[in-house]
Symmetry: C2
C-alpha cells in the first residue's frame, strides 16, 4: 500500500470561511462506538440534539434537527420542502450565497424574483418589500444572514413580520451565523432556517441543522406535489427524528456524536458570552487590518464579526499570500469567490477559531507576507490597534 500512505494532514489554524478548528472534546466524541440508527442509545442522543439545537436557534419549533449533509444540503431542504412548481419566490442576491439560493430555487421549479444589491452591500428591506408587493402570490422570501462571500451582515429582524404581511414565508440562510451572532428564530418570526456544523458550532463539516416553524410545516403538509427530493423530504424525515422512529435513511452516527458534543460546548459557554467573544475578537482583527492600511469589503455598520472580507491591495499576488500563510504559518484564510475572486481575502474567526491568539497570529503573519511582497506597512501598528481594541472592550 505504499501508494496509499497513512493519513497525515497538517495541523492548521483554520481562519478561512469554514471549516474552523474543532475542540478536542468533539474529536473525542466522534470516537464513541458506532451504534445502529434505531438503537435506543442513539435515539436518546437524537432527542438531546434536537433540544440543544432549539436552544441555539432560540426556538420552540418541534421540527428542528440536523440534515444528513453539509450546509448547502440545509439550503436544499428548506427550499425543496416549501417550493412547488411555479411558486413565486423573492431572493435577496448580494453575494455568492444569495446567487446559490436563487439558482437552487429555480431548479426546484420556482419563479424567482431576484432583489439584487452590489456585493459588499446589504439588501435593503424596502427593496425586498417592493418585490413582495410586485409578486402576485409570493410563497417565500429568502435572504442570507451572513454573506460569507462578502462579509456582509444582513439585517433580518423585521423580515419575518414583513414576509407574513404579504402572505409569504421567511427563509433564512444562517450557515455562517449560527453560533457566532444571534439567530433568534422565534422572536424574528423566521419560518425555515438552516446552518452547518463547521463554522460557529465548532464540529467538522457533515450536518446541516435546520428548523421549520409551524407555519412552514403547515405549508409542507398542504403540498399538492410531493417534495422533489426524496432524501430531503422533511415530512418523511420528521417521522424518523420524531416519536415514530420510522426508518428513512441511515443517519451519520459519528457526525451526530460530534454535533452533540459541539452543541454541549456552545451551551456551556452560553450564547451571550459566545457572541461577545466573537464580537471582541472581530473588533480587534478589523482594527488591526485597517491599521495595516488594508480596506474591508463590506459596508460600514454591516460587517460580520465572524467573517472579515479584506480587499487585496493593488500589486499584491493574492494566491501567493495565501500559499505563504499556509506554508510558513500553517494558517488558512479564504480566497475570494465569484466576482470577488482574486479581489478579497476572507478571514474567519468562528467557533473554536475565534481566539485572541489567532487574531494576533493572523495580523502578524499577514504583515510578514505582505511586507515580503514589498508592501509598505507600518510594522507593528496592526498589533497595537488590536491590543487597544481589546483594552477598550475590557
Amino acid at each position: 500500500m505504499a501508494s496509499f500512505p497513512e493519513l497525515q494532514p497538517s495541523a492548521r489554524v483554520l481562519l478561512g470561511p469554514g471549516p474552523s478548528n474543532v475542540h478536542p472534546r468533539v474529536m473525542k466524541a466522534m470516537l464513541s462506538p458506532v451504534v445502529g440508527h434505531l438503537d435506543p442509545d442513539f435515539v436518546s442522543v437524537m432527542e438531546d440534539i434536537k433540544k440543544l439545537l432549539r436552544m441555539v436557534f432560540q426556538t420552540s419549533n418541534e421540527i428542528t434537527f440536523p440534515v444528513s449533509g453539509t450546509g448547502s444540503a440545509g439550503m436544499e431542504t428548506a427550499l425543496a420542502n416549501l417550493i412547488e412548481d411555479g411558486d413565486e419566490v423573492v431572493v435577496g442576491v448580494n453575494g455568492a450565497f444569495g446567487e446559490r439560493l436563487a439558482d437552487a430555487a429555480g431548479r426546484l421549479g420556482a419563479k424567482v424574483h431576484r432583489v439584487e444589491a452590489p456585493w459588499g452591500q446589504i439588501v435593503e428591506t424596502e427593496r425586498l418589500e417592493s418585490a413582495l408587493r410586485a409578486a402576485s402570490h409570493p410563497k417565500l422570501v429568502a435572504v442570507v444572514h451572513a454573506e460569507t462571500s462578502t462579509g456582509v451582515y444582513q439585517p433580518v429582524e423585521e423580515l419575518g413580520e414583513l414576509a407574513h404581511r404579504y402572505g409569504a414565508l421567511l427563509v433564512l440562510d444562517a450557515v455562517t451565523s449560527l453560533g457566532c451572532v444571534p439567530v433568534e428564530i422565534d422572536r424574528w418570526q423566521i419560518d425555515a432556517c438552516y446552518s452547518c456544523t463547521q463554522k460557529g458550532i465548532g464540529a467538522p463539516p457533515g450536518l446541516a441543522p435546520v428548523t421549520f416553524s409551524e407555519r412552514a410545516m403547515e405549508t409542507v403538509r398542504a403540498r399538492k406535489q410531493k417534495c422533489r427530493s426524496w432524501y430531503f423530504d422533511v415530512a418523511m424525515i420528521e417521522r424518523y427524528w420524531g416519536p415514530d422512529r420510522l426508518y428513512h435513511h441511515t443517519a451519520p452516527i459519528s457526525m451526530n456524536y460530534a454535533i452533540y458534543e459541539a452543541l454541549r460546548i456552545v451551551v456551556e459557554e452560553g450564547l451571550e458570552a459566545r457572541f461577545k467573544r466573537h464580537a471582541a475578537n472581530a473588533a480587534a482583527l478589523q482594527a488591526g487590518i485597517q491599521a495595516m492600511g488594508l480596506a474591508l469589503a463590506a459596508q460600514p455598520g454591516y460587517r460580520l464579526p465572524q467573517l472579515t472580507a479584506v480587499q487585496v491591495p493593488d500589486g499584491i499576488d493574492d494566491a501567493k499570500v495565501r500559499a505563504d500563510l499556509l506554508r510558513m504559518f500553517n494558517l488558512e484564510i479564504g480566497a475570494g469567490l465569484g466576482i470577488f475572486k482574486g479581489k478579497v481575502w476572507r478571514i474567519g474567526l468562528m467557533g473554536e477559531s475565534s481566539r485572541r491568539e489567532n487574531v494576533m497570529l493572523a495580523l502578524n503573519a499577514l504583515e510578514t507576507v505582505l511586507a515580503a511582497q514589498g508592501m509598505e506597512i507600518a510594522r507593528g501598528a496592526a498589533l497595537v490597534a488590536a491590543d487597544n481594541s481589546y483594552t477598550r472592550a475590557a
Copy 2:
C-alpha cells in the same frame, strides 16, 4: 449540563442491515486534524479516494467520488442527474429499496414503469426487457443489486448490455453490495452506481460513493434542463472533485478521512479474499439458521451473503427477540421493513462485522432467546451446522 450527559453509547456487535462495525484504524483516521476543503493536504486525500473507489468499483470511470450524504443521497444523485421531466424509466421493484427508487424517480419528474416481483424473489431479466420494449423512449432502467429488505441477490451481469440495446442507461443500487460481493462496473456496463460507507466498506455512515460511466456523463452534459438538485448536481461537483478544484460545497472532511482508511483496508485485504470471507461466513450462518429450524425469506439460489432475511416463526414475539439480543448480548440485528415488518429479521455480516466469531454469537444468542420464548430447538445443532460449513469450505 447535567441534563446533557457525556456520550456513552454501548459497544454493540452490529449485525443489522448497517451500520456494521468500524475498524479501529478507521476510527483513528477520523481524528486526523480537520483541514480546509481546498487545502492541498485534503486535495491529495481526495485524489487517493477516487483511485481507491475505482479499484473497489472495478472501473476506470473518471467520475467516481463520494457524495456528501448517506446511501440514499447516492440514489438521489444518480437519478437527479439522469432524469429530466417526462423521461421514461424502468424500475425493478421487489422490496423496500426498489420502492424507494420508483418513488424518488417519480418525484424528479420521471414517468415510472414498475416491474414488480414478490418480495423475496428476483426481478426476472425477461420482464425488465418487456418493460424496456414497451416503453417508447426508455431513459434508464434501475435495479437494486442487494435488496436489503429481503436478502435477495439480483442478477445484473447482463442488464447493462440489455439496457443499451434499448437505448437506455443502467443504474445500479449497490448500497448493500459494494465491498461484500463483486460489483464490476465496467465489465457489466453499468452507467451509474451508488453505495454507502457503513456496510461493506466498513466506515461510519456519512458518504455515498458513486460512479458515472462516460455514457452517463454524456447524458448529463446534454441535459436541456438543469439538474433539479443543486446539492447533488454532478456537473458542478465534478469541478470540485476534478482538477478545477472549484468550490461547490464544503466536503465532510472527517468522513472522507474515514472512507480513505476504510478503502485502504479493503484493498489491503483484496477484493477476492474479501468476497470469499463474506461468502464463507454467510454460508455458515445460513446453515446454522436452517439447522435451528428457521426459514430464509429469499428464494434459493439468490441469497445474499452479506444480509440474511430470516422468517420470524409463528408464535414468536419479533420485537422482544430483538430487544433481548440487544439487552443480553449487545447484539443488533435488523427488523423487517414495509410489508416484511414483524415478519423477518435481517442479519447482516458486512465488512468488519463479517467474522466467524460473530456468526457463532448470532446463532448462540438467537438460540437462547428463541428457546426462552418456548420455541423447540435442537440445542447446539446450529453451531454444529455452522462448524461443518466452515470445514467444508476449508
